[in-house]
Subunit: 468 residues, 2 copies
């Protein structure tokens, strides 16, 4: 009998200590099936003190731990390695919303709450929790915090980091830190929560968080804009932000090839400007004021932009149906690309001012070495984050295509970093970019990260070989 | 000849190595004259590489270092201790604005730039840098970053931390870390800059930062509101934020005794509602839209609040002069209190929802032990931060009054922490609250802070005995 397993069962009960291969399968493979690991056990604690006790037991036994939430990550950060030594600690049972304080505009949620559940609770309380991702029905806030998730509203509301006021974290030795403060001003020492946010579970296990709430949105208006090139899109963003300020909530760019994949594969999708435009922008304004003339404001500004020759055409959605149709053109790109075939993906960011140059230059450099490359570019241009993907051309088979990944990464990532950008804007490092990042991070920065890791997890048992 | 001084002069020149008592006087005393220290020398490097070289020299010699900017801090964090061992490293010569990127909405400034200079540069570029403090004419951004300064617009724009995208920092061993990225999305490892922000110079010396810019404000409207009690103020805040959203830029509470000090001591000050109201609120909305009907919106919402019996009366400023007069009633409280005599000050925060209870209960507990206590309460109620000060009553002399500080702190701070608040909302710990915070911080949190300090500054030479 495995003594560790017995002590884990003493904490959570045998029904929450999984060891049979069929039981643990969903926990040791990532949701896209790219990373497969093995685990000594999968444990499902029911509350923070159980998490602490589980960690204590594993730490005492010198057993590595892999924290896991909704298992929707894209870099294998929540998948155990294949040595089978680790215990996967799944947080999904910590799904209570502990408190909502509307006067203070805070919500305290346990790590296993799905993002959708938190959004719903905020809405029910007459507020908005603005973090919004494609996977929100299954991703959990602990994972969002650990990866500092972004999404489509970062332009207005910031990343998960900017939405967090306090954390409760189980340290690698099992100590429970209660840092659950709901204060917007607190200068009593180092802001320790910032270390755990975005640390991808390598410094401790987040068990709860105090999140910021915002006033409910009463009005949204969406427009699809045809622009001649990315530079026009960047100029339009400046104009709209200057005129409409914080109302600008989303600003997405969609390249022609990305749009065509959607028109081709998604039934009912229609191009607002058939045949026109190499690039399109999806822009959304929102406001708390119900009758704030938002659509008129947007129409007016877009009209001025057309008159100025900056953009070619624009249509403002006149109904909720039309708004959803426009958003569908953007939101279905990933699915359309998946149906089309395999692709090499990049999740990069550059300063907004560098986007036009990046897109033109990356295109040029890739076509130099690979003339029939199919570039599918789209993304959150408002915050500098682009999904710059390559779809497989017909001239290659799958293996031949994937074999080009290293060469393609070199070209794209080198350019991104030259422009002061990041090779992982949203998704984190996990296992996927752990080595790639070494090419680009200053040695001093890696040294500091390792110093922090050693200080907080001297035994190196917390999600080893992820990030670092 | 002091070999260290020679090596420092080799880096910056003798004109920037100060040792004569009359020369170093302004650098070893804080601006309020409360902390007086002594220094081996005051050094004024001219750029980041000089700072790095100076730090390297001091580190090699085992000499402690005290980073200093505009020396406007309120906790003695930038004042050397009186053992005279330290070298004060003053950053004021690093005063270049290195870059402004309006499309990316970023500004890169060296640590010695005054906040006012940065605000002006942003304005000239058609943007807004929203950090705003009383000392902005002389405080420097390096100090603002090191103390995570707040100010009056935190409700809308956040603290200095939320305004920072990248840092350049000289490590305690003299290594220069260039983390000057201007990206809103970057998930490539631990967010190291977060450690240095608010660390009060104890982990390294900030030499430059990339700051966020915002759209220029084209319209502001200000109102003075008479409310029956703090609970009404908190309710009004919720109503206004719900109706006006991000337009709400400032929301300050002014207690009757605070207002009366201003009316008494500041020539020309006039009470908008003579004789009425125990409490007043100063609220400001702002917008990028020039003709957005802001004054009408505020008037409308305040009218509804009067009708609902929530507030007693309100006046919306009709001119810039009137707007400045209203802001004067709030901004002159500190000066008026200083003219009145000495005071015991608190810079605390509690969840906004707890403000009414805090004010009532703190009053009650203080009057229990000190019936003729004179409480002067005012502050940034919108973000939970109150300046809860006690003016000396006529029945005590100065020494007798100050002697009560410990007892008063115990009552006020105990209550603040019980309510989930912070004993230093804006000003940091420095020397002033270094011991006081130990009463209230969890031992695990102090342990983590020391672990971080040891990891980044193993020799313990960077601003010793501040914060920790």
């Amino acid at each position: 009998m495995d003594a560790l397993l017995q002590s884990l069962a003493d904490i959570v009960g045998w029904e929450h200590v999984l060891t049979r291969p069929d039981e643990i399968e969903p926990y040791v493979v990532d949701w896209r099936g790219r990373y497969r690991g093995a685990a000594r056990a999968v444990v499902r604690p029911g509350d923070a003190s159980a998490v602490a006790a589980v960690v204590r037991a594993c730490a005492r036994a010198g057993v590595p731990m892999v924290p896991q939430g909704g298992n929707t990550g894209l870099c294998g950060g929540a998948t155990p390695l294949d040595d089978g030594r680790a215990v996967v600690i799944n947080l999904s049972r910590l799904n209570r919303i502990r408190q909502i304080d509307t006067a203070n505009n805070t919500l305290c949620a346990e790590a296993g709450c799905t993002l959708a559940a938190i959004q719903a609770a905020a809405e029910e309380a007459g507020r908005l929790f603005p973090l919004s991702l494609a996977s929100e029905g299954s991703c959990e806030i602990g994972g969002n915090l650990s990866t500092n998730a972004g999404g489509v509203q970062v332009l207005r509301y910031g990343n998960t980091r900017e939405l967090t006021l306090g954390l409760e974290v189980v340290m690698p030795d099992g100590e429970l830190w209660n840092g659950l403060r709901g204060l917007r001003k607190d200068n009593t020492g180092y802001d320790l929560k910032q270390l755990f946010i975005g640390a991808e579970g390598t410094l401790g296990i987040i068990t709860a968080a105090v999140l910021k709430l915002f006033p409910a949105v009463r009005q949204r208006t969406t427009a699809w804009v045809s622009v001649p090139d990315p530079a026009a899109a960047v100029s339009l963003l400046s104009r709209l932000r200057g005129a409409c300020g914080d109302r600008v909530t989303a600003f997405e760019i969609v390249g022609r090839s990305a749009l065509e994949l959607v028109l081709h594969h998604m039934p009912g999708a229609r191009d607002p400007f058939p045949g026109d435009g190499a690039w399109a922008v999806l822009v959304e304004l929102s406001d708390t004021v119900a009758d704030g003339g938002l659509a008129e404001l947007l129409e007016n500004e877009l009209g001025l932009a057309v008159e100025a020759g900056l953009i070619e055409d624009a249509v403002v959605a006149r109904s909720l149906t039309q708004m959803k149709a426009l958003w569908g053109l953007r939101e279905n790109i990933s699915e359309a690309q998946r149906i089309e075939g395999i692709s090499i993906k990049h999740d990069v960011s550059v300063p907004v001012s560098a986007i036009p140059h990046f897109l033109a230059e990356a295109d040029r450099r890739l076509k130099e070495v690979w003339p029939d490359v199919r570039i599918v570019a789209f993304g959150h241009i408002g915050d500098g984050n682009l999904h710059y993907n390559l779809s497989k051309p017909n001239t290659l088979d799958n293996n031949g295509f994937i074999a080009k990944t290293g060469e393609v990464n070199r070209i794209v990532h080198d350019l991104v970093v030259d422009l002061g950008g990041s090779i992982s804007a949203e998704h984190g490092l996990g296992q996927l970019k752990r080595e790639e990042v070494l090419r680009y991070k200053a040695p001093l920065e890696m040294h500091l990260m390792r110093a922090v890791k050693r200080a907080l997890d001297p035994a190196g048992l917390m999600n080893p070989r992820k990030v670092l």
